[in-house]
Amino acid sequence: MRYLRSFGAFWYDFLIGDRPELFVGSIVVLGLVWVAIRVGLEPVAAGGLLIVLVVLLGGLSIWSAIRPRS
């Protein structure tokens, strides 16, 4: 049980770590673009949307790290 917990903790730290928004956000971004293509967005335009969303996600994570805390 202890090894399982350590194994889980390793992967949590590895993929999520102290920036969970990047883990969740990346999945949401890819999901959004997938849905956008399925509802009719041109696949070439979807590439542009994906780039913008990835840049926004990185920016959001940086902003959350440097914003003043009360």
Binding site: S26, V44, I62, I66
Partner: protein, 256 residues
Amino acid sequence: MTLLIAALPAFLASIVEFVEALTIVLAVGVTRQWRSTLLGVAAALVLLVVLVGVFGSALVLLVPIETLRLVVGGFLVIYGLQWLVKAILRAGGAKAKHDESAIYEREIAAMREEPPVAAIGMDWISFTVAFKGVLLEGLEVAFIVVTFGASAGQLGPAALGATVAGILVLLVGIAVHRPLARVPENGLKFMVGLMLTTFGTFWAGEGIGVEWVASDATLVALFAIFTVASLAAVWAVRQRLGGRHPVTAGRPAEGA
């Protein structure tokens, strides 16, 4: 070109991780027993090679390339953004930079608190600390080698890139016999983060049905866009912090 695509990220990431592993290995070897320390290093390296071989081959042989690129691309976007965001925060002064010399001193102090080394036979503390240190740092390299190698169909060159980096760090470490504090770790992490995010976006995009306008040449454009955005972010962080002292941005500082 594809050879370089697979080998370069693995090479750069390996330098960063092996420099960190070398600090731990040196601290253990200097304060305790070199023989057991080096056995711990060897055991960890063997396990890493087995992991890369087994998982890399399994991925290439069993998973269709489209599925592989979607899953691997998704992981690379997550992992690449983590490296990149941390490197941006460090470059902007919002997070303390990695200090190998300070880490080395801490490891030395921790080792001196352990029970004395046995006069004969194995020193299991040396073995375990060196094994864990190399394995944990090396797993990040293994992850990059397996994902990049499998997706680009170049597992061999990716593994070779990591091996060359490992040997290089080891040789320099033996020569100078102290932590490699002058390696520009944050610059390397910045570059690796950019590469992982670029390839992750490209492959994950293909996996969900995106058509890249310039096919493979889009990779260059993606890299340029992410580089400009990252440099702008570093500038914005510096502006935001102004003259304030570097901080850990309200979250616990940690390794990678």
